[in-house]
Every structure is written in structure tokens, then in C-alpha cells.
């Protein structure tokens, strides 16, 4: 019987090099995703497939492709693929000692217009990224109308350790909101410059520790809060939330243009309250129209990240303090958030490969 020799590591890498990452536009070997490759004398091949995010939308496809391609090589008797993820550090750290030293990626959620569901999206985006296995924080940058404490059922006051605040932990997330620092129904009555200071304090004086993603829930508008954030931290990108009707998409576009001016990449547009399924008749109603955000995204040349239905469950669970992706993971709303989270994660990975100008003073 002729003996088939086992393939070399290079032969294995050569076939794996046929797998293209659709988001990063290069093959997975060039991207350095294949690690700890071993070929045993008996023809068993094992390696680690390291993704740039645990919420990778093509995770399962990559695994199957890798198993099939390597399994087809002559001499291979078994394939073991260990799927892991290591979120890349965002491209630039101006002063790593001060601002968010252990945070790899910062994702802002903005809208321009109020009341479109930014906080609901931010909370569920953070929860969905956490469910995929990432370490996630959520910073509520809405000083006047903080919603994160109610939506996450976390109303405790942060502890102070060595002069720094410890984030509140809930649903596996690290949280910080002005609603935690000043609980109760007292209003925060601040002029603009104070808002900037408050947001900076939540970044600098809070011990965020090591995070793959810090999701930042921005207040509506294109003023102090957004500017402070874009000036203080190198944001990986911003996801813009809007509802389908023109009055919302028009303002969302303004928000997007502001972030463009500040050189913060747009991860894409999210359409919230996209449709409603009547519990009586089962009919799908598009209360605010249909496809407004998708059309706006196409017009502006930014990705459309997905649409979220108007569901009683999303509202009820937000009021009870559990994000819908945790309380009803099988609902249409939760599925929509999961899809959007993996899209956001993929777009964030692309941005981490981006180059910025390098400045040298001499």
C-alpha cells in the first residue's frame, strides 16, 4: 500500500491562505490569524484561528472553510480548529497613561436627534458584544438625561478606591453614568463647559480596567458632549441611530457630518423603530415609514448596519432593567441587535487597521 506523507506546515498555510476576510479584504494567513499550527506525524493538524473580534459575523463560516480546506489535503487524518478572538488595539494612543489606558476600542453611539433610541441601542449593543465573549464597558455621556442606570437595573452609587471610581457591574458589563454618581430625581443643571469636564472625568477618573470595547452613549446634538469626546479620545468610530422618517434621518446626517469633520469614521447607520408587528392581527406596520436610514446610508456612502423593530418587549425589558438581548435572546428585537453588534464589531476591526498621520517634532 503506498504511504501518503503528511503535509508540511507551509502546505497547510497555503490552503488556509485561500480564506479571504470579507471585511478586511485580505487573506487570513496574511492577517496573522492562524497561530500555533501543528502537524502531528500521524497527519493530525491543529491550529488556533484568532479573529479580530469575538462577535465576528463570519466566525462559523471561517471555521467550516478552514476544516474543509485542510481536511482535503492528502495525508490529513484529522483537523482541530480552535476559534479564539483578540480585539486589536485601536490605531493610536496619544497619551496612554491618562485616557482609557486599558481600552482597546471606543465606539460612540450618536444620533443628532433625541428620542430615537440611542440608549436602548447602546445598552443592547454592549450586551450583545458581551454575550459574544468580549470585555465590554458602557459610558453614559448623557449628563442631563442619563438613561443607562434604569435600562440596566443598576442604581448603586460607585465606590471610590484610591481616589478613583469603580465602574458599576451589571449583566457582565462595566457601567458608568451620571445617574450613578448623582442618583435620585435632582436635575443636573450645567452649562456647556461643565458637561465637557463631567465627560472627561468619567473617562479619566473611572478605573475602567481592561476592555475590548467601550461603548459610549452620546446625548443628542452636535455640541459640547460630542466635541469633548472627539477631542479627548481617539474614537474608533461612531454608529448613528435614527428612525425611518425624514425628520430623523435629516438630523442623523448632520451628526454624521460633524463626526466626519472630526475625522471620526462612521461605522454606519442603524434604523430603530423600523416596524411593528401587531399582537392582535399579526400584521406588520411600518409606522414611521420604511427604509429611510438605508436610503440615507446609501446616499452618504456609509454602511447600513441593520434595522430594529418596535417591540413591546424591548421597551418593557428596558424599563425593568434587563437588555432584551439577555432577557429574550430569541425575540426578533434581540436577533436584530445581535446582527447589528456583529456588524459594528466587523466595522470596528476594519478601522483598527487604519493609518493616521504621524507627527514628528524636532
Amino acid at each position: 500500500m503506498p504511504t501518503v506523507s503528511v503535509p508540511s506546515s507551509q502546505q497547510v498555510l497555503d490552503v488556509l491562505g485561500h480564506i479571504q476576510d470579507p471585511d478586511l479584504g485580505r487573506d487570513v494567513v496574511t492577517l496573522g490569524m492562524i497561530k500555533e499550527l501543528e502537524v502531528s506525524p500521524q497527519g493530525k493538524v491543529s491550529f488556533t484561528f484568532e479573529l479580530t473580534t469575538p462577535a465576528c459575523p463570519v466566525r462559523d463560516r471561517f471555521k467550516t472553510q478552514a476544516q474543509d480546506l485542510v481536511g482535503d489535503l492528502p495525508g490529513v487524518t484529522g483537523v482541530e480548529v480552535r476559534m479564539t478572538a483578540n480585539v486589536r488595539q485601536s490605531f493610536m494612543r496619544p497619551k496612554p497613561s491618562e485616557i482609557l489606558p486599558g481600552v482597546k476600542q471606543t465606539i460612540a453611539v450618536a444620533s443628532g436627534k433625541g428620542g430615537v433610541g440611542k440608549s436602548t441601542v447602546a445598552v443592547n449593543l454592549a450586551a450583545a458584544l458581551r454575550r459574544s465573549g468580549a470585555e465590554v464597558g458602557l459610558l453614559d455621556a448623557d449628563i442631563y438625561g442619563p438613561s443607562v442606570p434604569a435600562m440596566t437595573g443598576s442604581r448603586s452609587v460607585p465606590e471610590q478606591v484610591n481616589g478613583r471610581l469603580k465602574p458599576i457591574e451589571a449583566h457582565g458589563l462595566k457601567l458608568m453614568s451620571f445617574g450613578h454618581i448623582y442618583p435620585g430625581d435632582q436635575a443636573t443643571i450645567y452649562r456647556g463647559p461643565m458637561v465637557g469636564k463631567a465627560i472627561e472625568a468619567m473617562m479619566v477618573q473611572v478605573d475602567w480596567g481592561r476592555l475590548d470595547y467601550l461603548v459610549i452613549d452620546l446625548p443628542p446634538g452636535t455640541g459640547d458632549a460630542s466635541l469633548t469626546l472627539a477631542q479627548a479620545v481617539p474614537l474608533t468610530g461612531v454608529a448613528i441611530v435614527c428612525t425611518p422618517q425624514d425628520v430623523a434621518t435629516d438630523i442623523a446626517i448632520k451628526a454624521l457630518q460633524m463626526f466626519r469633520k472630526l475625522n471620526v469614521p462612521a461605522l454606519g447607520l442603524i434604523e430603530n423603530m423600523s416596524w411593528y408587528v401587531c399582537s392582535e392581527c399579526g400584521h406588520r406596520h411600518e409606522i414611521f415609514g420604511h427604509g429611510g436610514a438605508e436610503a440615507a446610508a446609501a446616499r452618504l456612502g456609509v454602511p447600513f448596519l441593520g434595522a430594529i423593530p418596535l417591540e413591546d418587549g424591548i421597551r418593557a425589558d428596558s424599563d425593568k432593567g434587563t437588555p432584551v438581548v439577555i432577557s429574550r435572546p430569541d425575540s426578533a428585537g434581540a436577533k436584530a441587535f445581535e446582527h447589528i453588534a456583529s456588524q459594528v464589531a466587523a466595522r470596528t476591526s476594519i478601522q483598527s487597521f487604519r493609518q493616521l498621520p504621524v507627527i514628528n517634532v524636532h
Binding site: Q231, L235, K261, V264, N360, V361
Partner: protein, 88 residues
């Protein structure tokens, strides 16, 4: 100060050039009133020496001069335009 751009091009700036290009309201003037740079013909040496350059988010740099003047935020597109002699 040198900048290596994302597209591989290089720009070089002198402190003097950057000081005279300071975009801040005090230097440029605001609301129709002329700024300080429009009234002056010469600046002292410590006004022209760069002391520190800090990144502002990812869209601009803030340049501090030895004189203490540091209010100018120079956006990357503005700097790219100033360094018209960007070399490949």
C-alpha cells in the same frame, strides 16, 4: 515639525511658518475684527519656537510655542494645505 501622511506623502513645517498660520481667534480675529497677526509685522524668537504638539482627537493637533501661546488647533486638512510641497 514633520508629518508623514496616511498616503505616504511627507510635509515639513518650520515653527515660524506654523506660528504665522495659527488659526485661533486671537490671531485670526473674529466677528470682522482683525486679529493679532494682522497687526504685527514681526514676532519674537520665543513666539516661533515649538514647545509641544498634542493630538486633538484624531482630526487635529494643538501646537504650543515657547512664548506660551497654545490656543491654535490645526486640523489635518489645514496642515495638509499648508504643506503644499508635500513630497512623495
Amino acid at each position: 515639525m514633520d508629518i508623514a501622511w496616511e498616503d505616504g506623502k511627507q510635509s515639513t513645517y518650520t515653527g515660524e511658518q506654523l506660528r504665522w498660520a495659527c488659526p485661533c481667534a486671537e490671531c485670526r480675529g473674529e466677528g470682522g475684527a482683525p486679529g493679532r497677526l494682522a497687526r504685527l509685522h514681526a514676532l519674537s524668537a520665543d513666539e516661533l519656537r515649538i514647545k509641544d504638539v498634542t493630538l486633538v482627537g484624531q482630526y487635529a493637533v494643538q501646537i504650543a510655542f515657547d512664548s506660551g501661546h497654545a490656543t491654535g488647533i490645526y486640523t489635518f486638512p489645514y496642515l495638509r494645505g499648508l504643506g503644499a510641497a508635500a513630497k512623495p
